[in-house]
Amino acid sequence: MEQQQDPVIARHRDLERIANMALRAGRIMMESGASVSVVHAGVGMIARGFGVEDVGMRSGYASLEITLHAGGNTITRMIQVGRLGVNHRLDQAIRQLAVRVAQGGMTVDEVEAEIGRLARDTPRHPAWVVAVAVGIACASFGRLLGVDWPAFAAVLVAGTVGQYVRHQLLHQGVNVFIVAGLIAFLAATLGGIGSILIKSNTVSLAMMASILLLVPGVPSTNAQTDIMDGYPTMGSARAVWVLMIMVFASVGVWFAEALLGLRTL
């Protein structure tokens, strides 16, 4: 009890709450597809909104670290970061919150509550809507690659089913690389069988188009952004992740082609 009244410890506790809250916002931004420089800027805005004088950050692929200095006190804290995905609305909402915090006038409790509310209540499209949209996107990709109209329908169905199953598997916590391999096999097989049944002349292209939902476009551009912004370690980690996803996806397509007799194992 006496320790709680020590002014130095009390100031450390305040700084710790600011650090943890800023890290939580940074983690959400990172998991929602923001680049490292944006995460650092957002976390810095939140911390400085509470009077922090100096903010130092380090970003790894699976963790964020922050050092805050204010009023002669310094504190360093770290937070783990989960699977990196893309959630535009949540990312933008946290950025807007960072702007509001930087303008001052909010308490730590209010910001913590707001971060929790945004994480909980920011709307997401229903899984079936996402699945159909991704199916349309894959089929459109197919047309851009040159698949014929019969294969368009097959790719649409394969992409839709593939995305829906991917969503379910990821929500059950299955490893993202294993999911990539399984979904590539499933979608390519469905796209290939459908194209053969509808008598398409572009079966191989249709199989490839069916797995384009797995191509990590945002992480690959984020990798480049991070390197250009001066974070080559994070950029390299993202690039390796992209490569691994594509290796697993290619193995899935390889097995699907073998199953349909288009390739020998």
Binding site: V38, H88, R89, Q92, A98, A133, S140, L145, S220
Partner: protein, 155 residues
């Protein structure tokens, strides 16, 4: 040039659909999705014109990304800090995922037993991989350069 119009419209339409579809996956709101579609249509239209002018895929993709990024930056009063994300979403249909797959499948083929014409298989795989690297670089640079020069706000 007029005979190219149907092909141009075809590419723009499916570029728009692909960008909007991935916009849904990335959880863009319904108000932002038409902007994603427009960015995708613009990107694919520019890339198609470039390729019709006999530019390489990499050069055409770079030009398309620059034009898309500049156009979206001009709309930043309407789009706000989301403008960079809209430009990225528009360029997603240009990401050469199929070439990436072909490259890796080609490398897997090289290790197969009793391979016939290994040199051709290897060269095609290397060509596909280089095309992926250069095209991704072109898209990334095309998106980033205008955003940095025009000082697009992230917040």
């Amino acid at each position: 040039m007029l005979e190219l119009l149907p092909h141009l419209l075809h590419q723009a339409l499916f570029g728009a659909l692909a960008a909007a579809g991935f916009g849904v996956l990335f959880n863009f709101g319904f108000r932002a999705l038409p902007w994603c579609a427009a960015a995708g249509a613009l990107a694919l239209a520019v890339r198609t014109v470039g390729q019709d002018l006999a530019w390489s895929l990499e050069g055409a993709s770079f030009a398309a990304a620059i034009v898309t990024s500049c156009s979206v930056s001009a709309l930043r009063r309407q789009l706000g800090p989301a403008c960079n994300a809209v430009a990225l979403s528009g360029c997603i249909p240009m990401v050469p995922g199929a070439f990436f797959g072909q490259a890796l499948l080609g490398f897997l083929s090289v290790t197969a037993p009793n391979l016939v014409d290994a040199e051709t298989t290897l060269i095609v795989a290397v060509q596909s991989l280089l095309r992926v690297i250069f095209t991704l670089g072109a898209i990334g640079a095309g998106l980033l350069i205008p955003a940095h020069l025009l000082r697009n706000q992230d917040f």
